[in-house]
Symmetry: C2
């Protein structure tokens, strides 16, 4: 998508992956208002879906406070892209009647209610760094999750250099998986739907869509 | 998207909205295999994301059992499209650290664990018919949800004739909202993130994207 931006378009990098110092959310908000005031249409481009851990609420609030009209274009969030790439559904009749996207902890610093998350029976899609995963696996088992529940660690979904590790909560909790080598960004998906990778031999880019 | 299909492409309608008798999943699976065997590339087009209540698992299993290679292209699921259209995020720092997509009940006929779903604090996106909503609102309140928790009923998201009703669990449970008049398809989103519709005056299609 970046390659399709016309050369005449002004680009203001604000994210972590542009090789520049990341801006704070306040700084990004200020850039949005500044650029709009200079005239023209501006696009705030994000990876994934802006409404899922994308600070969409904060940016809309800021624009609204300044009377700036906007449109939100939805996107494909990392969990659904991961399922498409690795050929597993996020829900499946008889295996998961719900799917949850969650972070490691809440904004007030409190932990997620892991027990409640386990009891829903939902496929859990963990939007968090690799470092946190072994302790989350430990918490899920303590909260009543089956120790041998499969968890799939998908790095760089839909990008060059993607990787896909299938393990279990207990192996992740015990340190058998070296999470320090996993490329970022990473999404981890826990639940019966992620295993086995039945369709591995049949998957791949079909030329007509490449 | 349908309008962009070349006139030379064979189209086999299988869904409810094509004005024909809906096929069962078994019949759809059989059509997929039959068409592949006649040669060429076939596209199984679905609304939303195929991995979220889209029977993706069943269709992949069937293709795999017949040795048919495939690629899954992810999509924008109804809940994220609803948030984009109505200007609310599905997660928000301090309001919701998780979001769950769920149906009314599980494949084995058992009910969702509504108490666990309430206790997660997740924004709940209900993929179910309007008729079921009052009883689900009653169950959520019985499970410990705040009676005045906002719920937003969004019909025909991203389509002509969309509608958007903001109410509360208690008003929905008590029958104050006439769900029988809501157009389908419908998605209902419960949680602090959906209200108030702060940005109503600023939202709308921006011409450059139309």
């Amino acid at each position: 998508m970046l390659a399709e931006i016309p050369a005449t378009t002004k680009i203001v990098p604000v994210g972590k992956r542009c090789g520049v110092h990341s801006m704070t959310q306040d700084e990004i908000n200020a850039v949005l208002v500044r650029e709009v005031r200079q005239g023209g249409l501006i696009v705030r481009l994000k990876g994934g879906d802006p409404g899922v851990f994308g600070r969409l609420g904060e940016e809309m609030d800021h624009l609204a406070a300044h009377g700036i009209p906007f449109e939100v274009v939805p996107g494909v969030t990392a969990a659904t892209a991961a399922g498409a790439d690795a050929a597993f559904p996020l829900t499946h009749r008889g295996k998961a009647a719900s799917v949850t996207f969650l972070t490691g902890h809440c904004a007030d610093g409190s932990d997620q209610n892991w027990k409640a998350h386990v009891e829903t029976g939902a496929t859990l899609c963990l939007y968090m760094g690799a470092k946190a995963l072994p302790s989350v696996a430990t918490k899920l088992i303590a909260a009543g999750a089956q120790a041998d529940l499969p968890i799939r660690l998908l790095s760089k979904v839909s990008q060059e250099g993607s990787s896909d590790v299938l393990t279990t909560l207990t192996d992740l909790a015990s340190g058998k998986v070296d999470v320090s080598v996993l490329p970022t960004p990473l999404i981890a998906v826990v639940g019966a739907v992620v295993a086995p990778p039945r369709h591995a031999g049949l998957m791949g880019r079909i030329a007509a869509f490449a």
